[in-house]
Symmetry: C3
């Protein structure tokens, strides 16, 4: 008589479950990715608030019913938020793609979760000290490089594991 | 005698099929993501056309065989297209990543498809009224916030479902 | 008596294995995506080096302990690297998302690998001739359009395959 095993398969071997809710690492990724995307969306609102507060509108059609009638560029408060937003695109979007494929390779679950949590929190602090309340360096540099090196570590890890597919 | 069920498993429970062609929601995502990426690629062509039309080249090596011999910045037509392109990066890329992981959580299939279709069409209209033919506000603002709130909704939904993995 | 087949399922039909290490196309994607993300991270370092070399700092808090006491913009060397970095965001990030979902549709494995390798190498050459050592056009234009048309091909392929889900 045949016996059909009902034992849960090993997650590290069952690659097709890595990007599902069955994988706690992926669930952790889902949570922090959602938070980081909400944070990025907030940057648009912050830019709009700075534009309205400083009357700095880049498009003629945005001037209607405003108390100003000229397009304006290079307001330092607007530009600071825009630099912070651009920095997010340069770093958060690669982090999100890199972490997704890092998880798809079935890394150590504890390490993967710790790394992504640290990377996510660092980017939130980066925004606070860049766009909300500038503080002396090297605070911003530290938060920047924390996420930077975590993304780089994941990229090294994945590229070395898959180097034979070059 | 054992019976092996041949019934199709419930898609909401079979997480490993959510990111495959078996899932109609994912197929809808595949279609509109491809369209949005083609739309983003078009922005580069549009920028190049504006640069050639207004003779606004940012790099000395781009001047060869042109009817101009000076690099130039800040042409309003070029800058308008570049702002629209940047706005795409700020909003479409987070939308695509957010929707992908939203689908991986197995949401209501009808709702997911309606939301993504509206978000995608809004971004196409956003480009038309920003880069092609500027129209009075709040047209552009409405298209912007439609996609904005759909992305935010997905992020809230996913983060609340996975909050225990914080 | 029942026979349970132990034959490996056909990869093209077993969609749930397409985004796992079982799929050589996905392994190839993992390798080159990691390389491209490392390349993008390098652009931040290159920008920082140019900022320090030319004393061009955009934020007052970055001036501490530098040999300059004024924020500065528009240094041509810094701006060249920033344009190259922005060009990466405009093209590499859509390429990575597009290729991921292209692979999820189970395309011809040989073609998919060749296309992604060419697209990845083109972007590396693009950076070399844009940010490191400018060379006469159309070198940069050729590298740009190589990746551009590969991304567009994938988008056409996927959108046509899924057009019934519009």
């Amino acid at each position: 008589m045949e016996t059909i095993s009902t034992k849960e398969p090993d997650l590290d071997k069952a690659g097709f479950r890595l990007l599902t809710l069955d994988n706690p690492v992926f669930c952790c990724y889902l949570f922090w990715t959602s938070i980081l995307i909400l944070k990025m969306l907030m940057m648009s609102i912050l830019t709009a608030m700075q534009r309205i507060g400083t009357k700095t509108f880049a498009n003629p059609e945005d001037l209607k019913m405003r108390t100003t009638d000229e397009v304006k560029f290079n307001d330092p408060n607007v530009e600071r938020v825009r630099r912070a937003h651009r920095n997010d695109m340069e770093n958060i979007l690669p982090l999100l793609i890199m972490t997704l494929i890092y998880i798809a390779t079935g890394p150590n679950a504890t390490l993967a979760r710790i790394l992504f949590r640290i990377a996510a929190v660092s980017r939130i602090v980066h925004t606070l000290v860049y766009a909300f309340r500038p503080v002396p360096q090297p605070t911003r540099a530290i938060t920047f490089f924390t996420t930077f090196f975590i993304t780089a570590y994941m990229a090294f890890y994945v590229s070395i594991r898959t180097i034979t597919y070059i």
